[in-house]
């Protein structure tokens, strides 16, 4: 479904992505692991058109490199950023409505689905997003993206700074999203959740993919974990 080849990206003169290549299949949960600063978030931003990419990004066979973010989103790619970026002046419900790309169009995901999965969002429907807790903002950010009915969603560090109980809820949410037929590219630092939900994992280091395999393969490879993941 998503095929990335020889992807390069720059911040000024810094060469952040140095030939990244990976793929995500239909209905798959694929995790992109690695330490801070190796280029995982930049990979998502490049795919989304928020950082200018060089190389090839094909989605359902169509080349996306060079397209603007809104056109990429309309092709069926959703993005949940690391810093959540909920709209502070809008209520929880309005934030969810912002995710809807075409009013009245059929969608696998509705606001009621968001409220069923995260009842807390329903209780806080009329509250401005900047007054929500970190966990609530994460729930909101993920559900808002799903309102756009994406075929593939990139979720960047969804469990960062969250309490263990909320991390559990996020894991259940990812499994429900995958069960609905949506592919997931999960960017994570926590091995536990990635190992729990992923079909395949990639490990990044120095702007490149340094490992590819199943969670079991990674579990068995002490050298990779020690060199590229453990702090």
């Amino acid at each position: 479904m998503l095929e990335v080849e020889n992807l390069h990206a720059y911040y000024g003169k810094s060469h952040i992505l140095q030939g990244v290549a990976f793929d995500v299949g239909e209905g798959e949960i694929v995790s992109l692991l690695g330490r801070n600063g190796v280029g995982r978030s930049t990979t998502c931003k490049s795919i989304m058109g928020l950082v200018p990419p060089r190389g090839s990004i094909r989605f359902k066979g169509e080349e996306l490199a060079g397209m603007s973010a809104h056109r990429i989103a309309r092709k069926g790619i959703g993005y949940v950023p690391e810093d959540r970026l909920t709209f502070s002046g809008l209520s929880t419900r309005e934030n969810l409505e912002m995710g809807v790309q075409k009013v009245g169009a059929e969608s696998r995901w509705t606001i009621d689905d968001a409220y069923r999965l995260f009842p807390r969002l329903s209780e806080r429907a009329d509250v401005k997003a900047d007054l929500l807790s970190g966990g609530e903002q994460q729930m909101l950010s993920m559900c808002r993206t799903m309102m756009g009915n994406p075929a593939l969603v990139m979720i960047d560090e969804p469990t960062e700074g969250l309490a263990p109980q909320i991390v559990e809820q996020v894991g259940d949410f990812l499994l429900e999203v995958a069960a609905s037929g949506v592919s997931i590219l999960l960017v994570e630092q926590k091995l536990s959740i990635a190992m729990r939900v992923s079909h395949r994992v990639y490990v990044m280091g120095h702007g490149q993919i340094v490992f590819e395999g199943t969670p079991q393969d990674l579990q068995a490879d002490d050298a990779v974990r020690r060199e590229w993941l453990e702090v």
Binding site: H70, L85, S88, G99
Partner: protein, 312 residues
Amino acid sequence: MIESVVFSLLNGVLYGMLLFMLASGLTLIFGMMGVLNFAHASFYMLGAYCAYSISQVLGFWGALVIAPIIVGLLGALIERVGLRNVHKHGHVAELLFTFGLVYVIDELVILVWGQLPVDYRIPEALDFTLFSLYGSDFPAYRGFILFMAVAMFVAIYLLLVRTRVGMIIRASLSHPDMVGALGHNVPRIFTFVFAFGTGLAGLAGVMAGNYFITEPGMAFAMGPIVFVVVVLGGLGSLGGALVASLIIGLVTTFAVGMNYSIADMLASAGIAFGQDSVLGINLSRFGPMLPYLLMVLILIFRPRGLMGSRES
């Protein structure tokens, strides 16, 4: 005394509402796009001149509808062809672009309409006394300006709060990139906001051009004070722009009406002070400085403005 206070109040509110008509568009453009549009008051001037020419053919009411649309369309064209390309080179380039635009529009206005003021008049239908108070008349056209400013505030408020377009604009005030990543065409929203904002400036020009004087210096007269309103009110805050406009309108109007000095006040308290010292300067002469002093103070003590949610 009461007469003076009541009329200062009425004139202050009137000036404030005129400022709001001009500043509301700029606060949307500034808040959402981060564009410090120096040329905003030039669109106000264009509104007045277009209204003058159109009113020669279609009368004032035709000009009231058509002139803001023409100015808004011109704004859309400038954003689409100019600003959008300059945007890639950062805010300094944008700032210089709008700075250049001020002089281009100014020279074009002089080329088309000449150096001298044009005879843009209040329509006959509104050229009567609305009411008299303490023997002074309050013209109907001032009442019309107040009515239009309030109607404009309500219309913009409803657009922003009750419509989907408004919701997308409000979301773009905080995270435009994220709005794009959700599938909304942010460049098109920017064009719409710029056209809408410049159209509002044009409408303010239509309303104020015949109340003041329509002449090439009118943009320079209003340009700086509009930025004070936007900074004082807070980036992107419509309510803040309204409050700031009224504060500036009232402060400057009341200051102009103060016909005494600090030395006079000290003298009434029994402390003699020379009238030829600094304390002897008439307080009304500080009036023009007060809005800018307010801006400086707000930037030091409350950079996000009275009702803004962010600082830059």
